[in-house]
């Protein structure tokens, strides 16, 4: 390796056996510098946060005691989604059947198809509402909101659902452009139904109640 030798004294010594001073190269050995450079690069690569976090809007309605201020939803257009433990999802349309006949289980993957299907179904029933459409047009919005005005998704996270589950399902609302949805506490009947089908797919459901939290 070439290195800068600063021992310039040799030139003055004269005598037998002393070699003539060689012309020294002025090259500097860059290897340690490269080492250091790449060390720092590695450090910065590891510490770099390339993707900045984003945020998602969430608007909660005001709690109201007055009956007439409550949001009314049409039974025929409602889809209830219950988030249970172990990333399980249950859903039903309209009101919950006492026998649990319309209580179905799904995964986070196929709940999207379910939402899309239900939304299409509601839109297909849509009778042109000129008042709503005109208002949307005058505001420069698409009339899509009018078409799905009867469609309502009720999200009911149980105590076993994780935060990620909730964000995922809220995300699903954005992805599928559902304009009306709400985050609600599940009813006891729904919790019972979840417990009954807790095994998933109806195979030997455990009868034990999960410990209350």
């Amino acid at each position: 390796m070439a290195s800068l030798d600063t021992g310039g004294d040799d030139g003055h010594k004269k005598g037998p056996g002393v070699k003539k001073a060689k012309k020294q190269s002025t090259r500097v050995d860059m290897t340690p510098m490269v080492d250091l450079g790449f060390l720092l690069i590695t450090f910065f690569i590891f510490t770099a946060t390339m993707s900045n976090p984003t945020t998602m809007d969430l608007n909660m309605p005001k709690d109201t005691d007055k009956k007439d201020e409550e949001t009314k939803i049409k039974q025929s257009g409602s889809l209830s989604v219950i988030l249970a433990k172990d990333n399980k999802v249950f859903y039903y349309e309209g009101d919950l059947d006492p026998t649990g006949a319309n209580f179905k289980s799904a995964t986070y993957k196929d709940i999207r198809n379910e939402i899309i299907r239900k939304k299409r179904e509601v839109i297909s029933r849509y009778v042109t509402d000129p008042a709503c459409e005109n208002e949307a047009r005058s505001k420069g919005k698409s009339i899509d909101d009018c078409k799905q005005k009867d469609f309502f998704v009720v999200i009911k996270p149980t105590d076993d659902a994780t935060y990620k589950n909730v964000v995922d399902i809220l995300d699903e609302m954005t992805i599928n452009k559902v304009s009306r949805y709400a985050l609600v506490k599940p009813f006891d009947t729904e919790l019972d139904a979840v417990r009954l089908s807790g095994g998933g797919g109806g195979t030997a459901a455990p009868a034990t109640t999960p410990p209350a939290k």
Partner: protein, 217 residues
Amino acid sequence: MAKAKIQKKSTDTDMTPFVDVAFLILSFFIMATKFKPSEPVPIETPNSVASQVMPDNNAVMMSIDKDNKVYFSIMSKSDIQKGKEIIKEAAKRAGVTLSDADLSQYQDGEMIGMPFNKIKGFLALPPAQRAKVAQDGIPVKDSATSELVNWIGAAKYVFAGEQLKYLVKGDNSSKYPTFGAIIDAMKRNDEQKYNLVTMPQDAPAGTELYQERLKGK
């Protein structure tokens, strides 16, 4: 006759361009890196298709870690005094008096997750030591004793007349009831609009949002 001398060629390579490149990349990374504020607990946020950039000024953040503990942090870059005032006000509402000296160690954006009866001793510690303390989390579970209500109320009071963003940052594996308790605390302060912190993700192909974004591009 003298034979033509074969000159010994040096095996040295010129490293200079190599160094140039290395330092070019290095400067890029130095410029692009934004250091994360120190977090006493790592929080892994879920992904979402949301594309709004997270605000880092005039905001308060409620974080939930994987053990369902809640932390409160104030981001007031332009005026660090505001953060101190919020802590003071929140403590005052809970019947704890904090002096300026108690808060002298406070840094902007720091996560505070102590119940009010322990907050005084905690804030008195130097920052380096404080980062090592395992915090208890702000009590939220019982809505009657939820201290988060005080925190949000204090933030709202100090930021009165200014725009204040509420952020919720939760860990993937934290359970819903804690998040529910935060929603509840927000409701009790008459605040309905807030943002969830997530990591960006593309809209899944074939969905309505995907098609809309395609059109927009």
